[in-house]
């Protein structure tokens, strides 16, 4: 037991897990002891039971939300890196367009979502656009910064060896940008999920294409609080898994050489 407890890898997983278990136990105890009614705070058991009984409904909604999240995230990555590459091509392009990238970032998505939903007929596309707008900026700003954060000595070395623009990009700028890019991915993946949920709240699309946000809204109207909690739980778990996926990806690509991935082992 003792050697296991001293293992830092074990501690990193076990410690938060124990906190989680503790919270659930205290939650369960409080709800049962104080006899809190279901329609205010459901206990963990009732949330779990709803998760099982309503799984058909919830899982199809989860798939819808996941679909929009991943579509938006993919669009944000493709668009964001493309824009970042354009930005580093010339100072003029960056100076001219960067303020508009900021503008896009600071405009709340709830404020422009109604417009987009009016303009775009297809709800999936409309929601994807909204979520993309939310997730885009961290990719642009991080990748631009990364492509510019090149060791000046190495840049001189490339110049002295008469490297072409393409060689410098492929062999120097892109590898230098990777740590920043993955930092952007971590932030952006979470934002894509938030964007997908928020946009659906605004759109309020129901029927077969209903996502988790719609289930939360409906459950709220019907005072079906256990289902509301279950949907909320699914969103949270999705967010955590997305983040973990990004951490894993970043370790896969940077693990052998980048400092940020090294210190975590200590």
């Amino acid at each position: 037991m003792t050697p296991l407890a001293r293992n830092p890898k074990f501690a990193r997983i076990a410690a938060p897990l124990m906190v989680g278990v503790l919270v659930i136990v205290v939650w369960h105890a409080l709800v049962t002891l104080l006899k809190v009614p279901q329609y205010l705070v459901p206990g963990p058991v009732s949330v779990a039971r709803t998760l099982v009984t309503d799984w058909g409904l919830l899982s199809s909604s989860l798939l819808v939300t996941l679909k929009i999240t991943f579509l938006a995230f993919a669009c944000a990555v493709v668009l964001g890196t493309t824009i970042a590459f354009l930005f580093v091509q010339s100072r003029w392009i960056e100076v001219s367009f960067f303020p508009y990238a900021v503008l896009m970032q600071v405009t709340p998505v709830v404020a422009i979502a109604p417009l987009i939903i009016i303009w775009v007929k297809n709800p999936t596309i409309a929601l994807t656009i909204c979520a993309t707008l939310v997730a885009l900026f961290p990719i642009i700003s991080n990748t631009t910064l990364g492509l510019r954060s090149v060791n000046p000595g190495l840049l001189s070395l490339f110049r002295m060896n008469r490297a072409t623009r393409m060689q410098t990009l492929l062999r120097l700028r892109i590898p230098s940008a990777l740590p920043y890019f993955f930092g952007g991915l971590r932030i952006s993946s979470g934002l894509a999920l938030i964007g997908a949920v928020v946009a659906e709240f605004v759109a309020g699309t129901g029927g077969t294409g209903a996502g988790l946000a719609y289930q939360i809204l409906q459950a709220g109207f019907q005072l079906n609080i256990p289902r509301l909690f279950a949907a909320l739980l699914l969103i949270t778990v999705t967010g955590v898994l997305l983040f973990a996926l990004m951490v894993w990806l970043s370790r896969l690509f940077l693990g052998t050489w980048h400092d940020s991935e090294m210190v975590q082992e200590g």
Binding site: N151, G153, L154, S156, L157, F158, R159, M160, N161, R162, A163, Q167, R171, L172, P175, L178, L254, T256, W257, H258, D259, M262
Partner: protein, 276 residues
């Protein structure tokens, strides 16, 4: 590679020929009016080991970067092998630069780092690998090709950086305080290895340092520079036989050269103060 070289006494006695680098009243003034370097006349012949010695702000790095083609002189000009920079590069003349820090690509293994100049020149990996191996062998890093830079000590990283500069057999090797960030013991060892390499490979080296000991130990000629404004103050020929070993450091003449350079540097800074 150890001093098997048959000492045909070089540099000083060598036929003059075309200088490797010639600075003709080259000076550097930055757009904001800062005078980095007063006009410099300097001529470096093949096989020389010339050190630019001076305090910070004396323009020694500026001069080296102009020689490397990384900076343009504001007035005056430089000639390489009697020609212009692009012209002689087009003829296949090679210049390589070793920076103050190792400037390795952290994402690439040691052999990929050393191979970089060959990769950029379009040499096929198969043809490049033996040259990479022999360059690593030269700097004493045989068998370290598969390591990542972060797994090596600072001194070893500097050796990789030198191997990268040697892999293409440079006609002129420029070194900008390459061992400045290392501890003195490591620096002395690298100095000894460098001078042996220079001797064995008949390199032409321009070396920037602010260490008097390093300058005396390595150079055939020391260019003493002064600051504010940066300028060449005096030149001292270190007329000592090669190949030099660490035994040279404890000789009378080593001490004498060190004293001479110390005095020159003091004189130079005094002259700078009155003119300022």
């Amino acid at each position: 590679m150890n001093a098997t070289a048959l000492p045909e006494q070089l540099a000083a006695e060598a036929p003059p020929g075309i200088p490797v680098v010639q600075a003709l009243a080259a000076e550097k003034v930055y757009p904001n009016g800062t005078r980095a370097l007063d006009p410099v006349d300097l001529s470096i012949r093949a096989g020389e080991f010339v050190t630019l010695l001076g305090p910070s702000g004396c323009g020694k790095s500026t001069l080296l970067k102009m020689v490397a083609g990384l900076l343009q002189p504001s007035y005056g000009r430089l000639r390489w092998w009697g020609g212009g920079f692009d012209e002689v590069r087009g003829e296949g003349r090679r210049l390589d630069f070793v920076f103050q820090d190792a400037t390795l690509m952290p994402w690439a293994r040691v052999d990929r780092n050393v191979r970089l100049p060959l990769d950029l020149a379009g040499v096929a990996p198969g043809a490049a690998q033996p040259r990479v191996d022999s360059a690593l062998d030269l700097v004493g890093l045989k068998g370290f090709g598969r390591h990542y830079p972060r797994e090596l000590s600072g001194g070893m990283q500097m050796r990789v950086s030198i191997a990268r500069a040697l892999v293409n057999e440079p006609d002129l090797l420029l070194m900008d305080e390459p061992f400045g960030a290392l501890d003195e013991i490591t620096r002395n060892r690298l100095d000894a290895d460098l001078i042996r390499l220079w001797w064995a490979r008949k390199l032409t080296v321009i070396f920037v340092t602010h260490s008097i000991y390093e300058a005396v130990f390595l150079s055939t000629r020391v260019v003493v520079m002064a600051a504010r404004p940066g300028r060449v103050f005096r030149e001292v020929v270190i007329d000592e036989p090669h190949p030099r070993t660490d035994a040279f450091r404890v000789t009378q003449s080593f001490a004498r050269y060190c004293r001479e350079l110390t005095e020159l540097l003091m004189e130079a800074s005094a002259a700078g103060d009155t003119s300022a």
